[in-house]
Symmetry: C2
Subunit: 254 residues, 2 copies
């Protein structure tokens, strides 16, 4: 397939690498900042563009991997093309494309956190696909299957919940690691000592439900320990977070 990427961020970068590796042609990379377009384009042998009017209208697939808030605007300025349009955003509905075209659009949502500095192993990244009709859906599913062994259909409504769950599973758990590190930093203890504990936390949820893996003072709401901990926390927001999560753990343990 001949593919155009709109966007040059983490998702566009890793997804274009993966698609190129499995034999697709990345023909153009668009970014409103030419430098960013050039950086990615040079790595996937594509042409960089910063003017949406220069989009090649004969590609098979246009992948929109831009920030949620500029996605509608970019779609608005797209020229008419023959190929399919698909975005990669968890929280944006598929039908935003309907403002601009009658058919041939969908969503390819990879459930993963991408960093520029880390290689992504797409083979086990779950992809969630949506298409405006069975033909579009089929093409998007086959494209995703060329890079991942975990591809399924999901509509926009359910995808929003998936994105919400991902925020808890990734962003919020990561912030718990940040707060833990901060507590140790303040005491002059290296946060490195937490690594085996963090590894085991995750190793456990790979083989059992997180609810069943839960331990610690909040499970039985051990007020003495909880109060001792609250007394140690100086930051008021962190104190509130400790209290609320402890109550929630206890509620979920019943």
């Amino acid at each position: 397939m001949r593919i155009v990427f709109l966007g040059s961020g983490n998702v566009a970068t890793h997804l274009s690498f993966a698609l190129k590796k499995t034999g697709n042609d990345i023909i153009q990379v668009y970014s409103k900042t030419l430098e960013n377009a050039e950086l990615l384009a040079s790595k996937v042998d594509a042409d960089p563009i910063d003017d949406i009017k220069l989009i090649n209208t004969n590609a098979d697939l246009y992948i929109f991997s831009v920030k949620d808030d500029i996605l509608p605007e970019i779609v608005e300025h797209m020229p008419e093309t023959t190929g399919i349009w698909a975005h990669t955003a968890g929280s944006m509905p598929m039908y935003l494309f309907s403002a601009k075209r009658r058919e041939g659009y969908g969503v390819v949502y990879p459930l993963q956190t991408f960093s520029k500095s880390r290689e992504a192993d797409f083979s086990n990244i779950p992809f969630f696909i949506e298409g405006d009709n069975p033909k579009t859906e089929h093409i998007l599913v086959e494209t995703a299957k060329s890079i991942s062994g975990s591809v399924r259909l999901l509509d926009s409504e359910k995808r929003r919940y998936l994105h919400l769950a991902a925020v808890f599973a990734n962003n919020f758990s990561n912030h718990m690691f940040t707060l833990a590190s901060e507590i140790l930093d303040q005491e002059g203890v290296s946060a490195e000592v937490l690594k085996p504990l963090i590894s085991e936390t995750v190793a456990k949820v790979m083989v059992m439900e997180p609810k069943k893996a839960q331990t610690g003072p909040a499970v039985r709401y051990d007020e003495k320990v909880i109060q001792k901990h609250l007394d140690l926390i100086q930051d008021n927001d962190t104190k509130k977070i400790y209290e609320l999560i402890s109550k929630s753990i206890n509620k979920h343990s019943k």
Copy 2:
């Protein structure tokens, strides 16, 4: 060394296995419930007892691995012995032993979450040691070193913060996985799809600071996405948790 264990829970179980494996003799296991004492004692070739008066007073080391709230009471009823007394609790001070004996006591705190159903690899579990004098400290450090490559001294005051940090790093991050799973359960999507995301979340913090690994809508406080997410959450406590953590992430990103 000849070791007596007081307690038969997760920590006592895993720690006694590890100490036995490196050539120590576990001579007795005490539990107020004889059945529990028997279960562990049979696995480490020790004698089970449920009466603290039957404690063998000639052991080299007595390890108290019981719940925080019953620890002082058990110490209170201990007969005089020659060997060292040490507890394994993160939030309990070393000096609680001073109510009962003049010297020869300390703390051996392994920073890890233990489950009965999972084998523990002690070689990389960090141990934090405290002793009432250099001689006690030396013996406890050498004992810990016989099972772990990561042993250091830490006083009771700092150990409390370590325990607090562990609650964030393990209990609270695990609860974020629980809430994420719950959101998907309610939508009929298998929580299994979160596993690659959770794995990558932790793989990232093994090589970079969690603060620097942070991504998602809260980093730049993307109000549109955050409001959309809040609208999806039905449980009020979970909503508050979402709001507070998002604000905290944003504050830490500045």
